[in-house]
Amino acid sequence: MSALSSHLLEEIKALPAKYPQPRSAVMPALDLAQEELGHLTPEAMSEVAVALQLDPGYVEGVATFYTLFHLEPVGKHRFYVCTNLSCMLRGAEDVVDRLKAAIGVREPGEVSKDGLFSYEEVECLGACEYAPVVRLDHRYEVDLTRGKIDSLVNDRRLVRSHVKTGVRSSLDTTPEPPRKKPVRRTKKSG
């Protein structure tokens, strides 16, 4: 049995024709594979290689270069937490601490026991005016506070137990709550 479904492999085989040179299909193909499996297993990568008539080592070399490809299992909902300078100035370290506690993991890449969550610390997400920011389920969640982290996590736990409820996503939907003051790290005196 192959790692990737046969209809997906057909889709992948059709990709090279869309580009001036077939090699450009490698990332779109890995994308499809990752979407289906959640992460890229060695078998999936070699099936992509065969489908695109590329060397498996080459495909793996590409996959390992880019941070959005995951070679290890990840949570169903992945938090990509920006910790770069503008977010750091507005409390990204607090966000990371709170998130770790909320989903019950100790380090980036670790998957929560229920399989629902994992997080990664990432570089600037290009939304610095909304710092601190995370990317979650293909949307940006902005102006993060501890409370907001908790509700992002709880909403998704609820969705799982009650099946479908609307999960709010910020950059995309109507009125934002009023701006909160940025979370500042408590400072030692002196």
Partner: protein, 435 residues
């Protein structure tokens, strides 16, 4: 969409921002959108388009300030095969969010600009390389391209002419280096994104070996306005040599962070204090990055510096990507610099030794310093590493930028570095960085 944070109804780029559903073709067109592309394909020659843009004085907004018309004119006219416009929508410079702001609000302006540019170089196909994290802008562009095709503004017969124009999207997968134009082209070709050595320049041998002009999102989004109003009208704005308006993203320790359209030449004081609401009550601007994390820092005492691109160059820094990061007196410069060095080390593609080794060395040095293990040795080390990173020893500017962060923060805030290294204290934050 989330609440806008930035200019709406500005002079050029944000002229129509704030109108409901500007991202829809119908709205954009009613306001005057696609007039530029119509004018170009139905009545102008490629040379005339280039001349109009030359008259505007427009310079690239991706960071290098290169004159846009000149870049287009480097693409050979008599090339027998395809030629490409590649849109750099990889925006990953820390502190820069303006391309996202433009694409989310007005995707058709970018599409129109890219189509005009494609016509100007005598090509038929543009590729937009957009960073993988930009889901919403990607969807906006995808839908807008589909609308433009359906309306017949793109495709085989734009505006009834026989000059085919097409635009395609390609998603990146998380690597800052993809913003560097030759690394971007490698990535577009399905490879690891490592910069190419030049020559040959992309204008001669770019995407898939064909002549290519790589342009930034903001640069191309400006072009339709220039065609509609004329280059001379655009050139009325700005300074003597740096024409027009540009976007800046203000972030960090300010009360109203956002993406603002400014006339080039206004001061940083105007941007930070008036547009972005200034620092929080009781705080002072200690330092700011005037053009993305890769621009050498300026101390708060230099807020009256002009945004004139050439003036900034004369100061040894740059307007760069327009990302203005503000840090107030409650934050530690050493810690901020350490965070940026971690970024550069992580994003170094590893191809050139000075960049790969130097940036990692700097990270380890900063870690020792912030763990209160610094001494005179670390101070001297940072200085040596900083020199080694600079000086154009590498294929691209990433290493230089890493060196500038160290050099410029040490230059202006030597006292904070000495406090950390020699006295193992931080009078600013006290707190230590997370390992």
């Amino acid at each position: 969409m989330a609440e806008q944070r930035g200019t709406v109804g500005g002079p050029v780029l944000t002229e129509w921002f704030g109108r409901a559903n500007l991202h829809k073709l119908e709205v954009y067109e009613k306001l005057g959108g696609y007039e530029g592309l119509r004018k170009v394909v139905t009545g102008m020659s490629a040379a005339q388009v280039i001349d109009e843009v030359k008259a505007s004085g427009l310079r690239g907004r991706g960071g290098a300030d290169f004159p846009t018309a000149t870049k287009w004119s480097f693409v050979p006219k008599d090339h027998p095969g395809p030629k490409y416009i590649v849109v750099n929508a990889d925006e990953s410079e820390p502190g820069s969010a303006k391309d996202r702001y433009l694409m989310e609000n007005s995707p058709h302006a970018l599409i129109e600009g890219a189509a005009i540019a494609t016509f100007a170089i005598g090509g038929h196909q543009a590729w937009i390389y957009i960073r993988g994290e930009y889901d919403l802008p990607y969807e906006k562009l995808r839908d807008a391209i589909a609308e433009a095709h359906a309306k017949g503004h793109l495709g085989d017969h734009p505006f009834g002419t026989d000059y085919p124009l097409d635009i395609r999207l390609y998603r990146g997968h998380g690597a800052y280096i993809c913003g560097e134009e030759t690394a971007l082209l490698e990535s577009l070709e399905g490879k690891r994104a490592q910069p190419r050595s030049r020559p040959p320049f992309p204008a001669i041998k770019g995407a898939w070996g064909q002549p290519t002009a790589v342009n930034n999102v903001e640069t191309l989004s400006t072009v339709p306005w220039i065609i509609r109003h004329g280059g001379a009208e655009y050139a009325k704005r700005g300074t003597e040599k740096a024409k027009g308006t540009r976007m800046v993203t203000v972030s960090g320790d300010v009360q109203k962070p956002g993406n603002y359209e400014i006339e080039i030449g206004v001061t940083y004081r105007h941007i930070i204090e008036e547009l972005a609401g200034g620092p929080f009550p009781g705080r002072k601007v200690k330092v700011f990055w005037p053009g993305g994390s890769s621009a050498k820092v300026l101390p708060g005492s230099m807020l009256d510096t002009s945004t004139d691109l050439d003036g900034l160059k004369a100061l040894g820094t740059m307007g760069g990507s327009g990302g203005i990061i503000v840090m107030d007196d409650s934050h530690c410069v050493v810690k901020g610099a350490a965070r940026l060095l971690r970024f550069y080390a992580h994003e170094s593609c590893g191809k050139c030794t000075p960049c790969r080794v130097g940036s990692n060395w700097a990270v380890r040095t900063y870690e020792r310093i912030l763990a209160n293990e610094g001494s005179q040795i670390e101070l001297a080390l940072l200085d040596r590493v900083q020199q080694g990173l600079q000086g154009g020893r590498c294929l691209c500017g990433l290493g230089d930028a890493a060196g500038w962060v160290i050099q410029s923060t040490m230059n202006h805030f030597r006292n904070e570095y000495e406090e950390h290294c020699l006295h193992h204290t931080c009078s600013v934050e006290g707190a230590l960085i997370h390992a």
